[in-house]
Amino acid sequence: MSKKQKGQTRVCVYPDWCKGCGLCVAFCPAKVLVLNAFGKSEVANEDECINCGFCELHCPDFAIAIKPRTRSAPGQPDPRSGWSDPEAEHGRASPPEPTPEPNPNPEE
């Protein structure tokens, strides 16, 4: 949690994983999120996000991620996080799967 500066983050909600409990909406100090007509959390004021981390730490369904904004061209992978382009993250329904680890015991 560095400086509480606005406009540094991308706020990504994965609607397939969100159950609409409303915790992120109720406790976000900057009122970034709202519940939409489908009862899911939706980003309304991304530029207000102060990167406090509350939503990420408290989403019981791991359905929300805060990422730094990058200058990589749209469609290009983000070299820092291993995620694909954060611009495109907004449109994801569910989080990307983690990269598989190499098997330490290949004989198995």
Partner: protein, 277 residues
């Protein structure tokens, strides 16, 4: 704050069905996240961690996370955990139980694990109810509260889990909540690194079976309640007395270094083997 969620996803078994079974707003999901962050912060390899779970909503945690996991029987998780720790003391054994699991059916195992000071971490998810089976009252349901089996209010007093574990001899005893996630990460990390029996009781809201019957309109209200009805134990003038305003103390209640049962056992083994030489 970047990558908190990504980190959690790296520890989940993505071949299981997601989103997980917990209801919307269930505190158990937050505790699962906290457990993953704590293990990650300690730098423990996944293969050195064993998650032993009982039966209940809380027990479902073992299904989703990519450690060594054992989903045991109702109330007996600590007995499996004890066996695993004695057989291979190098493993970090974490035992996830509900309040019904740990105190009602499994109460005897809990006090004896504490008395023996076996080097296991008991993570007790206290939602004050039997969540999974439809909301029957547990031995942690507060007196006067409504449940499926106490429609006019429970007549019995609830166990104070932290007090009980302290009295039974656990060498690390702490209490946190699903609302205080950063503190919970710290409590779970220190419990895992603690040499003897460590207990972390977590107040973890059950909006479906407990909240609805007890005048909480929704999950958010339960977290607001946790926010305003808890107090950090270190800010209390008399930490050993219950606050008169009824707030629940959270934090570390006991942290003493005492060798765990497995250490004493291997010490004895070394001694006896030396004598026979």
């Amino acid at each position: 704050m970047a990558d908190v969620t990504q980190l959690i996803h790296d520890y989940l078994r993505h071949n299981k069905k997601f989103p997980h079974v917990f209801c919307a707003g269930c505190g158990h999901g937050i505790v699962l996240g906290s457990l993953i962050r704590s293990v990650h912060a300690l730098g423990l390899p996944k293969d050195d961690v064993v998650l032993v779970a009982g039966i209940g909503c809380s027990g479902r945690m073992a299904v989703y996370v990519d450690f060594n996991t054992v989903h045991t029987t109702h109330g007996r998780a600590l007995t499996f955990a004890t066996g695993i720790k004695m057989a291979n003391p190098k493993l970090k054994v974490i035992c996830v139980m509900g309040d019904g699991d740990a105190l009602s059916i499994g109460g005897n195992h809990l006090i004896h694990a504490a008395r023996r000071n076996i080097g296991v971490t008991a993570l007790i998810l206290n939602n004050q109810i039997y969540g999974m089976t439809g909301g029957q009252c547990s031995s942690a349901t507060p007196q006067g509260d409504i449940s499926m089996t106490t429609p006019f209010g429970s007549l019995e007093k609830a166990f104070d889990i932290a007090d009980m574990c302290k009295a039974a001899g656990a060498s690390y005893v702490a209490r946190g909540t699903s609302f205080h996630a950063i503190q919970l990460d710290r409590l779970i990390s220190s419990a895992i690194m603690h040499p003897g029996f460590s207990v972390v009781e977590v107040f973890s809201p059950c909006p479906t079976q407990y909240g609805r019957k007890n005048k909480f309109r929704n999950a958010v209200d339960m977290y607001k309640w946790l926010k305003s009805n808890t107090v950090k134990v270190e800010t209390l003038k008399e930490p050993d007395r219950k606050p008169e305003d009824g707030r629940i103390p959270i934090g570390v209640f006991r942290d003493v270094e005492e060798p765990g049962l497995e250490e004493r056992y291997f010490e004895l083994q070394r001694k006896l083997m030396g004598q026979n030489r």
